[in-house]
Amino acid sequence: MSRSPALSVKNLRKSIGKKEIIKGLSFELYPGEVFGFLGPNGAGKTTTIRMLVGLIKPTSGSVHIGGKNVQTEFGEAMKDLGCIVENPELYPYLTGWENLEHFARMDSSIPESRLKEVVDLVDMGNRIHDRVSTYSLGMRQRLGIAQALLGHPKLLILDEPTNGLDPAGIREMREFIRFLAEKEKLCVMVSSHLLSEIQLMCDRVAIISKGSIIRIDTVEALLSEQERVVWNAEPLDQAKHLLGKVTKVSEMEGKLITLYDEDQIGNWNRLLVNAGIEVKEMRTKLPALEDLFLELTGGEHID
């Protein structure tokens, strides 16, 4: 791509003691895209994010934000970054506005007027002068985003942004993130352990397991490839035998599961029907993250 990347990670590694927990990650993120960072708990998502934002020093490799190296040009790199790592933890004994003032004072390039702007952006005008300890989780999340946006960042990193939100809050957050990427041309990196969330929000996704990226692709490509067909047929054994001849088939809870293949699915059905098997149900199913994982990692367990 011709655009310069908002975030560029090259061969990032981290060892703690003798154990290597992040094993050479490389990827690039561009302005205007929402990038999902997907993996189960313990895969190394949070450690990676902490290295991106400079909280943890990588053992080797480099991180560039807006072209500036986080290790050597820390101050410059941080000006282009807004982030929430894990929960949006702000000072509970200060008001929302005081929290924003506090963080604005740490960057002299932030003008006074920007505070009002970000408050309007996250729509918190009526509660901003209350103490943070009285806020609900959703409001803290919004205030967290407000503080992340203070410095007009090029890159916004959000760690599990919908964690603990109610369905309305999740939807609102999703729309807000899309808005930031499409209208404000921000690059947003979102981590999650929920596939459904990533699917609705992101353009591209990286799947990480045990410290390595096992796949980077667009969401459509990834999902369509992993789409499954569930068959409920009678008698089951015979159906399994027949399907097994033409494709990979597995049995789960009294149903058969095969890959989804648009060109072949009709033929497979005809095969069963012609053999006198009663097909009671046939539906496509998006894989759960767990299935996707088992598939991509070759059956290795998630820990």
């Binding site: 400079g54 909280l55 820390f74 702000l90 200060l94 740490m106």
Partner: protein, 326 residues
């Protein structure tokens, strides 16, 4: 940097830590004032008249009586002899060491609180400066700003210096104004003796001279301020090293109390004089009290404390700037 310090002071202020400390002092000072008032009254009743010379004479006789007891430990005997010589000097020169008045109260109060009470107050202010950011998770937001880590820590340290100075000033102000209600506000010009030094069992009076009480009190508050800074710095270091404010307070509390206990029992363990907590009683050098270990001088104690504080600061900055934040 001013803005960063502004942030830290705002947080300190809004956490109401300083407010609590001032409340503690404001509650304790009347207590001590009342105690001292009662003490003065009892002695007065016992003696039958208010003349301090009789009282001092009585104290000297008491001390002499105690000295004549054969079961005295050597340490204690040495201390009593020094004390006796000092009291005798006051009597001979017609100087009342306990003349009532708010400045005298300030002096006595600060001499008695320099090893434990004031360090504890400073500890309360310093303990959660960094550890609360770590345990509250706000450190992640603080360290992902375009500000280098050492600057953030320095702004916290400056905020600590300012609050220590504030605490010491507030203690001086409160002890003066509150006790003055009972004892009166006069007595600043009263001459006091200083320059005592001890060598073996002898009280050396070669350097003894008179200074007005205000100067004496000022010197003592200077030393108190220094002690508070050292204790604050060490607490600050622990606050960087540990996430839990309770652990910081626990360790510091144990060290301070151990210091108070050790001071009474280490006279023959010489290397204990390099521990910071047995060197906190700096005001004793001015009033001429016996040191816990022979050979300790004001200069020695100051250097030991300074070395500990410098070490603490170096460790704090080295760890804070290098550390991985989880």
């Amino acid at each position: 940097m001013t803005k960063l310090v502004h942030n830290e002071l705002l947080k300190l202020f809004r956490k109401k830590r300083l407010f609590v400390i001032i409340l503690i002092v404001a509650a304790l000072v009347p207590l001590f004032t009342y105690a001292q008032y009662q003490q003065a009254k009892t002695t007065q009743e016992k003696l039958g008249n208010a003349d301090w010379r009789t009282k001092l004479q009585q104290e000297i006789v008491d001390t002499q009586n105690r000295l004549s007891s054969s079961r005295l430990q050597d340490d204690w005997r040495k201390y009593l002899k020094i004390r006796l010589a000092q009291q005798q000097y006051y009597l001979d020169h017609d100087i009342n060491p306990q003349a009532p008045g708010a400045p005298t109260f300030m002096r006595v109060f600060v001499e008695n609180s320099i090893t434990l009470l004031l360090p504890l107050l400073v500890m309360v202010a310093a303990a959660d400066l960094v550890s609360s950011e770590a345990s509250g998770g706000t450190i992640k937001l603080l360290l992902t700003r375009p500000v280098k880590r050492w600057k953030i820590l320095l702004s916290k340290y400056i905020a600590l210096l300012l609050s220590v100075s504030f605490i010491v000033t507030a203690v001086a102000f409160l002890s003066y104004t509150i006790s003055g209600v009972v004892f009166g506000y006069g007595g600043w010009d009263m001459p006091l003796l200083t320059g005592f030094s001890t060598k073996g069992e002898e009280l050396l009076t070669d350097n003894v001279h008179l200074i007005p009480q205000w100067q004496y009190v000022l010197m003592e508050f200077g030393l108190v301020w220094f002690v508070c800074l050292v204790v604050g710095t060490l607490t600050f270091m622990l606050s960087v090293l540990l996430r839990s404010t309770a652990a910081v307070m626990g360790i510091m509390l144990a060290a301070l109390i151990a210091g108070a206990i050790l001071s009474n029992m280490v006279s023959s363990w010489e290397s204990a004089k390099y521990l910071f907590m047995v060197n906190l009683a700096l005001t004793d050098y001015i009033s001429g009290m016996a040191t816990p270990i022979e050979g300790m001088t004001l200069g020695f104690s100051l250097s030991v404390l300074l070395a500990w504080a410098a070490g603490g600061l170096i460790i704090a900055f080295a760890v804070f700037t290098k550390r991985d934040v989880y």
